[in-house]
């Protein structure tokens, strides 16, 4: 694989993994509000 392909892959995977894990952890950890 070329360096530029590795860079694109690393940046994109990092951004997507960061938001996916971050939001899902927030969903799991946020206490249910009234009516939940």
């Amino acid at each position: 694989m070329t360096v530029s392909a590795w860079i694109m892959l690393a940046i994109t995977w990092s951004v997507i993994s960061f938001f996916t894990v971050g939001f899902f952890v927030a969903v799991v950890r946020t206490p249910p509000r009234e009516g939940d």
Binding site: S17, V27, T30
Partner: protein, 545 residues
């Protein structure tokens, strides 16, 4: 009167929403689209489209759904009707019934192939017969015939349909949510196992001709020149659109079972990004790297030239797995199993809005509504099975699974921002939110998202033959606009078909006849949905009096 349905847990809701978005396209379409449209550079317009069109549209659909649910509507016609005083708004919502019903018909058929392929992988069918031979035989395709009645394919289709109807009949928490809570983790596990196994292949292993990393490079090498081509941007926006399952009415339906103060901003973001993870990280790491390892890059480039990895997924991969010895049947079961889970979590989401419409607006009992959905899907699906060789399946896919989605999304985004109004709309999106939605999205939802969808719509309408640059030059040069046969107008006018006629010399039907008949059928289905909506509202009015 039965108690109103609700989600069992918040995680279950997010998994069901993510399952709705994650479909076969995540694994079969995305890698081919990326590779053919600039490789790594494709991800730039792709992610921009996600932020400016996908994410805002998710919030809009969740907001419309939760708002409609507060008024007892769990399907798009009633939800749209509640966004303003105009009586025609509910007919915009008809698209949300039509798309779910007609897409479910052919989608359940594809889903049934994956289930059948799990069986045939485990029982070793592909050791005896090549998938390239098996597939047309399975579908009953015969040279020169427009019709097919494949017994085996019908059996699996029926089984898949029964499974869908049974899960839907169990209700929201015990049916759809449970299926997502089982299906989504398994899908992630199966995908991860296949990706790791595939990427660890090395030249010198049995049958391996090239490193799978060459395939990964094919997907990720940024060809920045592609960014100047409008078709790259249209392809990226289109991929975001279809991967998120927006413009269907299923997201609205799932969100309508939330209470008025439950969060939608964080839930929608979580489900949307989860879909992106499955598509980009897993979807980009299985099909093309494994196929490249065994076939070589040139063959893979040729196989994905049309922007779809469908052939590689169903015709090629089962053969390649044979190189994995004792693991071959397991790998086949994992691959088609993950496609099945991706499929069923989506088809369930197509069924629920139809069931909810029959329950809410026509006052049908849940079981009766679920069975009616199954019967309608069977009848429409049979058209796709029977007329598959003539092209009915492709017509369903284009007009329901592509065109109608864009029309509905365009309509709902305009209605939400301009009729419901951004003040109320923004309040709806942010009420009960567990994250702060950046205020710039107020502007984005009002202006950028509808404009984005409009560009995608016009792009599909007049897609040119060749590049956009060349088409503009042709138009300015007085030679007219070279319409692609695959454009909306090109399809309607049968552009590029030299010998357009309904009957051949022997008096038999041609594929042009099948295509036109399928379009007529789809129009009738839309009209039937519209009449049902008209009838339901007429009776509501009479009951009020």
């Amino acid at each position: 009167m039965p108690a109103p349905q609700q989600w069992g847990t918040r995680v279950g809701l997010v998994l069901a929403m993510a399952g709705n978005a994650v479909g076969l396209g995540n694994f079969l379409r995305f890698p081919a689209q990326a590779a053919q449209n600039g490789g790594g550079a494709f991800l730039i317009p792709y992610l921009i489209s996600f932020v400016l069109m996908g994410l805002p549209l998710l919030w809009v659909e969740w907001a419309i759904g939760r708002h409609g649910g507060q008024h007892g509507h769990h399907s798009p016609p009633g939800m749209l009707d509640r966004l303003g005083p105009q009586r025609w708004l509910k007919y915009v919502g008809v698209f949300g019934l039509f798309t779910n019903l007609t897409i479910a018909a052919y989608y359940c058929y594809i889903e049934s192939w994956t289930l059948a392929y799990v069986w045939h992988s485990v029982t070793g069918t592909f050791r005896e017969i090549a998938p390239t031979e098996f597939f047309p035989r399975y579908l009953g395709v015969e040279e020169g015939s427009m019709f097919a009645v494949p017994e085996q394919a019908l059996f699996w289709f029926l089984l898949t349909l029964v499974l869908n109807v049974w899960i839907l009949s169990r209700g929201l928490a015990r049916g759809i949510e449970l299926a997502a809570r089982i299906g989504m983790p398994l899908l992630l596990l199966f995908g991860a196992v296949l990706a790791v196994r595939g990427l660890l292949l090395e030249p010198g292993d049995l049958g391996v001709v090239q490193s799978p990393l060459e395939g990964l490079n094919f997907v990720w090498e940024p060809q920045l020149g592609g960014l100047r081509d409008p078709s790259t941007w249209l392809a990226a926006a289109g991929q975001i659109f279809f991967t998120l399952s927006v413009g269907m009415g299923s997201i609205h339906c799932y969100a309508s079972y939330l209470s008025s103060r439950q969060d939608i901003a964080l839930n929608a973001s979580s489900a949307g990004w989860m879909n992106e993870f499955v598509e980009v990280v897993l979807g980009g790491s299985i099909l093309i790297p494994i196929a490249t390892a065994y076939l070589g890059l040139e063959a893979v480039q040729a196989a994905t030239a049309g922007g779809s990895g469908f052939g590689l997924g169903f015709l090629t991969l089962p053969t390649l797995f044979a190189n994995w010895g004792w693991f071959a049947p397991v790998a086949g079961a994992l691959w088609f199993g993950l496609l099945f889970f991706a499929g069923i979590t989506s088809s369930l989401a197509m069924g629920q809005p139809v069931v909810a419409f029959l329950q809410d607006e026509l006052r049908w009992a849940h079981t009766r509504a679920t069975l009616a959905f199954g019967a309608a899907t069977l009848a429409l699906g049979f058209v796709c099975v029977w007329l598959y060789p003539g092209g009915a399946f492709d017509e369903f896919d284009f007009w329901s699974g592509t065109f109608a989605l864009v029309v509905f999304a365009l309509g709902e985004s305009i209605v939400f921002a301009w009729i419901f109004g951004m003040d109320r709309g923004w309040e709806e999106i942010t009420r009960g939110a567990d994250i702060t939605v950046p205020r710039m999205f107020r502007f984005v939802i009002r202006w950028v998202t509808p404009l984005f969808i409009l560009v995608v719509f016009v792009g599909a309408l007049v897609e040119p033959l060749g590049t956009w640059d060349a088409a503009v030059r042709s138009l300015l040069g007085g030679d007219g606009w070279p319409l692609a046969p695959s454009s909306v107008i090109g399809r309607v006018l049968h552009v590029g078909e030299v010998d357009y006629r309904w009957f051949d010399d022997a008096g038999g039907f041609t594929s042009a006849f099948v295509q036109d008949a399928t379009r007529l059928l789809l129009t009738l289905v839309w009209a039937t949905c519209a009449v049902l909506v008209w009838w339901a509202w007429k009776h509501k009015k009479e009951n009020v009096r």
